[in-house]
Amino acid sequence: MRFAALIAVALLGCDRTPPPAPGELVDSVTSLSELGATRVRISGSSAQQPLVNAAKERFEAAHGGVSVEVSAGGSRKGLADVASGAVHIGASDLFAPPDLRGALVDHRVAVVGFAIMAHRGPYNDRVDALGVRELAAIFSGRVRDWRELGGDPQPIVVINRAPGSGTRTVVGQMLLGGEPFVEAKTEDNSGALVDKLRQSKGAISYLALSFTTPDVRVFPIRTERGAVEPTEANIVTGAYPLWAYEHMYTKGAPTGAVRLFLDYVLSPEFQERVLPSVRGFIPVTAMAVSKDED
């Protein structure tokens, strides 16, 4: 009891770190939207989360009465939710499946690249790049040791994303060609996945480019043009194959606060000033190549 009281006294006045500068906090409310208190619900892709959150923070600050509620859950969930009407906007890395395409309106808000990331160990230093066929063998479980790729003997520990993840689907279609992934431990949360890649020897997985960090290895992909790094320049020209549109699907044409939000996300102000500052995303207008299917 006395001990606790001592600690309590010691805590008084002890945080002397200065408060954040006004610019670091999101701006205070400047105006009330004429729509009153409304909610815009968004769910879906976790790869798109940094972008949606950047948009949400600025949009909510500018329109005081509107709440933007964002939840993750994976691209498939986003599509399911918007189709069933549970949310207004479904964020997805995938094109809508054929049976939903009629009802949903596609808004392509950005382009995101995906990277093959692995634990940085001395055992894979000699592996410069990984070809499409090698990646297919790794993620389907046929190749089980880094030795077979040119490195030192070390078992490959595949970490999968959840089955509903858009990243997993895109990687599955582009690298595995529809072949099933090996059953391995699942980590859907990108932040936690990066932590695991940092700590577990032999680990390899696939994430959106927003999550690269210097202490985790990012593998270039070996194509006919040689080893291609996952940079914005390479994605824009199409040299790097792993990329997808970030879709915001609405059921029918958007109205009201939802339309305001989408207008903001597609506005030049957001696309040219905010989007480039969110790591890993590229404006759609910058792309030199395009696609209509996954």
Partner: protein, 377 residues
Amino acid sequence: MSAAVGAPALRARRRRREGGLRAALTLLAGSLAVVYGGCLMYLLLRGGWKALAVSYYAMPKVGVQGEDVARFLLAALYYGGLASLVLRVAVGVVQRAAPALSLPRHTLRNATLGVALLGALFARDHLPRFLLFLPSEVRAGGGVGPQIFNTLYLAVLSTAVTLPLGLGAALYVARFARSGPFVAALRTALDTLASLPSIVYGLFGFLVFVVELRAGYSLFGGALVLALLNLPVVVGIAEESLRAVPREMEEASLALGATPVQTAFRVTLPYAWPGILSALVLSVGRVFAESAPLIMTAGTTISRGSAYSFDPFRGGETLAVHLWYVNSAGLSPDKGDVSAGTAAVLVLLIVVTNGAAARLARLGGPSGPRARRILQA
């Protein structure tokens, strides 16, 4: 005295074996205490600093509706809690140093309230920043202000449902029940509710509120689901408290002309009230701790527009859900610190709640062991 030759040696061997076993058991008990005590200490130390240290500088307002009220209330709680701790020790020291000095009756309580009020009026911007700021998805420096608000508000909402339902059912069973089958059905229902895994509650809430009613995530749905979760405990303890009321008091009341209903509400209930209150406080503790049902009914989001709003039909993240979310879906770079701070705040809330429940239970009604038997049975 045993006549056998080897008896002393046998006894010595038995004593050694016994001693070894005793030592092993003591070691086991000691390590268990170290594990749990260590966990608690780690939680408080790792996260406590961030969560609890008063800030030297005044924290700017974030600019969210309702923020003033929320800061005021939080400051009152914070300074009041701090004051009650420090003042109690101070009063104890004073009383020991000068036993002849007699303090006025409610010194401690009034002093605590006074400090709480002063703090809330003048020092509310000096609360730790972790308790004031909004959470941040992608940047460092996020706080849990709205989550604390949501947790406490959800506890209030849930208790508002649990209290009438649970108390009503308990009162009925203990004092007014006529038909055997209905009581049996009620008891079976409560037993069933007690044995369901918490995820089943979440699924049901998700089905009813999010899918079927298209109401989206709401605190209201979460409160209803948690009320169902808490009913077995509350009804069990309340029933035991009510049954413990001495029959003579009720008979006296009835003899004086009161109707059974009047007796129940003016004699039985007040007598059993401390026990019932302890059951409610325990249910509040459970609301603080649950995450699975809430993830699927109240959601995992905080919005600027409804961060401190009293609208029960909006979604909102609580502290426990935030702890899970930050580690499973959050992208903030300081999630270790945020998790530690959230866990520390949670632990403090639960310790305070537990302490309150224990003190209330001792005031009257069933004593400790019986209450726990009902709790866990």
